[in-house]
Symmetry: C2
Subunit: 603 residues, 2 copies
C-alpha cells in the first residue's frame, strides 16, 4: 500500500477556503511572498516528509536509539532527515528575513510540520523540540545568547530540548527542585535530575541546548521562584566554537510504547561540579516564559495528533476500498462475489468517525495557528488582542480534542483493518501506539479541564468565552440561510445554550467550593470540545454548501465529491456526536458527585 499522509485537497481547502490564508499577503510582513511561495514551501516539506521521514517509519520503530553507557546511536535515516529539514530552512522558516529566516506565516509553517508529523511522529520530534527551544531563546535571550545558541539552532548545527519534568514532579512544575547557584562570572551552576526529556542526547548535531527550569538558591517557593536556563551539552567559546563537555550526563533512556525513533532520556545535571547554565531573561520568570511558548507547543501537539489520526484514516480508507469481505445482510447468496468492506454500513461509520475527528481536529488546529498569526500580525490592535484572547481560550481544546479523539480514530483504523490492524506488517498499530502519547504530554485532559473551567471561561469577566460564542453565532447565522445544511443549526444552538447554563452553575459552585465545582472539569472539557468541533464542522459545511450551490455539471466530479464529503462529515458529527453533550451537560448540571465522594479505602 502507498504511503499516505494528509489529503492535499483538504489542506488547500483549509488554507484557502476555510481560512483566508491568501489575505495574509496583504500584510506588510508577507509582502514579498505569494500563494506560490506558500504552496512551494508546503510542497517541499511534503517531499521531505515522504522522502526522509516516511522512509524509516517502521524501521525506526523496530530499531530504537541505543545507549552504550557513553553515547546514543540512532539509525542513519534520522540524520538524513535532520539534515534535510535544516537545509530546507524549516527550523527557522517563521523567523524574519533579517534574522536569517524565511518570514513565513505561522499557518504555513504548521502545515509543513504536520506533513512531517504524519510521516513519522517519532523522528519529527528532533525538529519540533529544537524549533520550540529556539523560539524561547529568540524571544527572551540576550544578543550574545542568540549569537552563540540561536543561530546554530536555526541551521541545524545545534539541537534543543525542553528540560522541565523531574522524577518527583510531573504536571506541577511549581514543585521542581533543580537548583541554580550564581557564580562570579554571572553564569550559574545547575544541579538536579530531569526525566522524560525528549531528544536529550544524540549526535545529530554538534551540540544540544537544554532549556532547564531550575530554582535559583533562595528563590521563593512555588511558581514565582522558577527560572529558565540555557545549559549546553558542550560549552561554547565566545567565538562560537565548541568547547569542553558540560556537566550534563545521560543517566539512561526510557523506552516508549510508540514514537520509538525519538530518544526519551533521564538527564543528570551537575553531578560533578555543577552544569554551567546561563540565565535566560530575568530571574524567577521561567514559568512565564515557558507558558508563553506553551500555546504554540500545544497547537503542535494538537497538529501532531491530527496528523497521526489523519494518516490512520487515509490508510483505513484505502484498505476498506481494496479489501473484499462478506456480503450485505440482504444478500444470502454464497455464490455472489464478496463486496469491498467499505460497502458495509458499519465500516462507513468507522471511516466517517475518523474523517470527522481527523479533519475536524486539523481544521481546529490550523484555525488556532491562524489566530496565533493574527495575534502577531493582524493590522489593528483590537484584532490582535481578540485573536490572542480567542487562542488563549481555545488552547485547552486545541490540545485535548485531537489527542483524545485521535486515539479513538486510530483505534477505529485498526478495527477497519481487523487482524491486519493488529500486526506490525501494517502501519495502523504503530500509529495507534504513537498517538497514545498525545493525551499525556503538554498537559493531560485533567490539567486542561481545570484550566478551561477553572480559569479560561471566567477570564476577563468571561470576555474570551463570549468572543468564542460570537464566532459560533456568526457561523450559525450563515448556515441558517443555506437550505442544504440549515437542519444542522438547531442542535448546535441548543448545545450552546446548554453550555451557558452549565457553565454558570459550575462557576457558582466553584466560588463556594472549588474542589467540588472542579471535580468534573474533565467532563466539561470533553463536552466543550464536542461543541467546538461541531462548530468547526458547520463552518466547513457552510463553505462546502456554498461551493455546491454554484456547482455545474461541467465542473470536476472530484470537487463535487469532496464538498459532499465535508457536508456528510459535518452531518455525522453534529447528528451523532454532538448529542453526546446532552448527557454530559445533565451530569454537569447536577454536578454528579460519585467520583468526588468515592474514597480511597472503598477501591
Amino acid at each position: 500500500m502507498n504511503i499516505v499522509t494528509l489529503n492535499q485537497r483538504d489542506i488547500d481547502f483549509l488554507l484557502y477556503e476555510f481560512l483566508d490564508t491568501e489575505s495574509l499577503l496583504k500584510r506588510k510582513r508577507y509582502a514579498e511572498h505569494s500563494k506560490e511561495t506558500f504552496d512551494a514551501t508546503i510542497a517541499g516539506a511534503k517531499k521531505i516528509a515522504e522522502t526522509y521521514y516516511a522512509n524509516h517509519y517502521q524501521k525506526g520503530d523496530g530499531n530504537e536509539p541505543k545507549f552504550d553507557g557513553k553515547s546514543v546511536t540512532l539509525i542513519p535515516e534520522i540524520q538524513d532527515a535532520w539534515n534535510a529539514t535544516a537545509d530546507f530552512g524549516l527550523l527557522s522558516a517563521s523567523y524574519d528575513f533579517d534574522e536569517g529566516g524565511v518570514q513565513l506565516p505561522e499557518v504555513i509553517c504548521k502545515v509543513c510540520g504536520t506533513y512531517i508529523q504524519a510521516a513519522n511522529s517519532g523522528s519529527s520530534g528532533y525538529y519540533f523540540v529544537t524549533a520550540a527551544a529556539s523560539s524561547v531563546i529568540r524571544a527572551f535571550g540576550s544578543e550574545q545568547q542568540k549569537a552563540l545558541f540561536l543561530h546554530p539552532m536555526m541551521d541545524g548545527r545545534c539541537a534543543g530540548t525542553m528540560a522541565l519534568t523531574e522524577p518527583d514532579q510531573g504536571s506541577t512544575l511549581s514543585d521542581i527542585k533543580t537548583s541554580a547557584v550564581l557564580q562570579a562570572d554571572q553564569s550559574y551552576r545547575i544541579r538536579g535530575q530531569k526525566i522524560y526529556i525528549s531528544n536529550g542526547d544524540h549526535t545529530l548535531s554538534e551540540n544540544i541546548v537544554h532549556l532547564v527550569l531550575a530554582r535559583i538558591d533562595g528563590a521563593p517557593k512555588g511558581t514565582r521562584g522558577i527560572s529558565l536556563f540555557i545549559v549546553p551539552k558542550f560549552l561554547v567559546n565566545t567565538d562560537g566554537t565548541i568547547g569542553e563537555a558540560n556537566d550534563v550526563v545521560l543517566a539512561g533512556l526510557l523506552h516508549k510504547m510508540g514514537n520509538r525513533s525519538a530518544t526519551s532520556t533521564v538527564l543528570n545535571f551537575g553531578e560533578k561540579n555543577g552544569a554551567v547554565g546561563y540565565l535566560l531573561g530575568k530571574p524567577h520568570q521561567g514559568l512565564r516564559y515557558m507558558f508563553q511558548m506553551m500555546n504554540d507547543l500545544r497547537i503542535g501537539v494538537g497538529l501532531g495528533a491530527s496528523a497521526i489520526a489523519y494518516r490512520g484514516y487515509l490508510h483505513a480508507l484505502e484498505y476498506a476500498r481494496e479489501r473484499p469481505q462478506g456480503r450485505l445482510p440482504s444478500n444470502k447468496d454464497p455464490m455472489s462475489p464478496q463486496v469491498k468492506i467499505i460497502e458495509h454500513a458499519d465500516v462507513r461509520r468507522m471511516l466517517l468517525m475518523q474523517k470527522s475527528y481527523a479533519e475536524g481536529s486539523l481544521a481546529l488546529c490550523l484555525y488556532a495557528a491562524s489566530l496565533a498569526e493574527d495575534s502577531k500580525t493582524a493590522s489593528s490592535v483590537i484584532e490582535r488582542n481578540q485573536a490572542s484572547a480567542l487562542l488563549d481560550f481555545l488552547t485547552p481544546l486545541v490540545k485535548t480534542f485531537p489527542s483524545k479523539y485521535g486515539c479513538i480514530s486510530n483505534d477505529l483504523a485498526i478495527q477497519v483493518l481487523g487482524g491486519s490492524g493488529y500486526i506490525r506488517e501494517y502501519p495502523a498499530e504503530q500509529l495507534y501506539r504513537d498517538q497514545r502519547l498525545n493525551p499525556i504530554h503538554e498537559g493531560t485532559e485533567g490539567i486542561h479541564g481545570l484550566d478551561l473551567l477553572g480559569r479560561k471561561v471566567s477570564f476577563n469577566n468571561g470576555e474570551s468565552y463570549e468572543l468564542f460564542i460570537s464566532q459560533v453565532e456568526q457561523t450559525l447565522a450563515d448556515a441558517a440561510d443555506i437550505s442544504q445544511i440549515s437542519h444542522l443549526v438547531p442542535s448546535i444552538r441548543e448545545a450552546i445554550n446548554r453550555t451557558h447554563r452549565v457553565t454558570e452553575s459550575l462557576l457558582f459552585t466553584i466560588k463556594e467550593d472549588p474542589d467540588l465545582g472542579l471535580a468534573n472539569a474533565t467532563i466539561y472539557l470533553d463536552m466543550f470540545g464536542q461543541v467546538v468541533i461541531s462548530w468547526i464542522w458547520l463552518k466547513q459545511a457552510v463553505i462546502a454548501a456554498r461551493k455546491l450551490s454554484t456547482y455545474r455539471s461541467e465542473n470536476s466530479v472530484n470537487e463535487y465529491n469532496f464538498y459532499q464529503g465535508k457536508i456528510y462529515a459535518a452531518q455525522y458529527f453534529i447528528n451523532r456526536e454532538l448529542p453526546q453533550t446532552i448527557q454530559k451537560a445533565e451530569l454537569l448540571g447536577v454536578n454528579e458527585s460519585t467520583c468526588y465522594e468515592m474514597c480511597d479505602e472503598y477501591f
Copy 2:
C-alpha cells in the same frame, strides 16, 4: 511495584455471593468436590499464574518467538509455564473423572484461566487454544481420534490450534477455499493457506493438532459445505507413537502489537503431496461444530479482556495511592506537601471507571460461565434450556463489552500513570497493547452487532430476549426494596423501556429493508451492553447493600469498604454511563442514516 492480577476478595464475592457456586456441590457431577477443592484449585492456578506466567510478562514482550526458516524458538519460561499448566491438570480440569479430568465446574475452571490471562495474556494462549481444540475433539471425535489426539492434548504432550482464517477471508468463514480430497484409506488430503493461526508452530509439545476448516471437493458453496479436519503436525502411528512430519509448513510469523509471546502464524497445508487430515464428525458440519465451541471461546475472550483490564486497574490504583503530585484546587499554598494523586477527583473518576468496567465485565463473564454450567448440569430440562437460551442471547455482549470497555479501561490506566504509563518500564502500556486484540478476534463488534440485532433478539419469537428482561426485572424488584440503592432503579427501568421501543422499531425496519435496519447494529450492541452491565452492577449492589445492612462495628472494616466500593461502582456506572444509552436510543429510534447514505466517493 508488586505484580497484581485480580482481587481475590472480589473473586470470592463473585463466586460465592454474586453467583451461588457452592450450590453446584449438590449436583451429582460435583458430589465429590467441596468448597475447599474449588478454592484449592483456584489457589493453585493463581500460584502458577504468578510463578510461571507473570514472571516473563515483560521478557516475553521484548523477546518474540523467532523463526529461522526451520523451527520456532520461544523463551524457555514459556516451556516451564506450559509444563506447569499441564502438570496441574488445567488442560482437562473440566473433563469427567473417567476421561482423566478433574470434573470441575465451568466457572471454577474459568477463574483459574482468568488468573493466568491476567498474569500473561500472550503466553496463556498456548493453554487456551489447546483446551479449545481439545474440547472440539472431545465433543465430535471418534474413539480412535480421542485416543490418538485428545489424550495427549489433555496432558500437554500435544498442543492444538484452530485453523480457520484464510488470507482472502476474515470474518466470513463461508468463503474459505482450503480443499479436502478423500483418499482410499478414508483420510483426506488438505490443501490451502491459513493465516493468523495462534501458536501454529512451536516445540512446547511433541506434536501439534491443527483443527482445519476445509471444503470437501464437490461440497456445496457457503456455510453448509464446510467440514472440520484434524491435521497433525506429525503423523501419529496407530499405537500413538509419533511418525513422520505431515505436509504442514510454517510460511512465516506475524508480528503483533501485543501478546507478543504467542506465535501468530501463516501455515501452508499440502504444498507437496497434500497434508493428511482426518474428518471430525460428519462431512459439511464443520461450521456447526465450530460454533458450538464458539460460545465458550467468546466467554474466554471476554474473560481475557476483563483480566487485562482488571490488572491495569489494580496497577493504576496502586500507583495512584503511592504517587504524590499537585494539590487540591482549594489549596494555593506551595509550601504545603503534595497530595497522593488518588486525592484528585479526576483520578478517582478514572479509577472508578476502570473498576466499573473491569469488575463489571468479570462479573458478566463469570455469570455467562455459570449459565454454560447450568446448561449442562442444572437439574431440570427447563433450567438447562433456559440457561442455554440466555447464554446464547448474551454471548455477543459477553464477548464485546469487556473487549471494548477493556480497551478504554487500559487506556485510563495509562492516563493515571501519565508519562510512566507510556513507557515500557511500567506494565500499563503492554496491557494496553495486549488488550487491543480482544475487539478483533472471535468476531468484531460489527459481527456481533449483526448477530444480536439480526438474530438473537428475535430468536424463538423473542423468547431469549424476554428471558433476559425477566432476569433484570427480578433484580429491579430486589433493589427497589433496599433504601440505600433504590434510587438506581428508575434509570435502569427507563433504559429497559427504551430498549424495548428501539428494538421493536428496528425489527420492523429490518423486515422491510435488512441493510438499512441493520446499519446501526453496532450502536445497538453498545447500547445493549451498557444496559446489561448496569444490571450486573445493580445485582452486585443488591448483595452489597444487604450485607451492609447487617454490618456491625465489630465486623472487619475491610469488608465494609469492599461492599461500599461495590455500591459506589454501581452508582458510578448507572448514574454516569447508563445515561449514554439515551442518545444511542434516540439515534436508533430514528435509525439515523448518515453512515448508511455516505458513499465511497465522498470520502
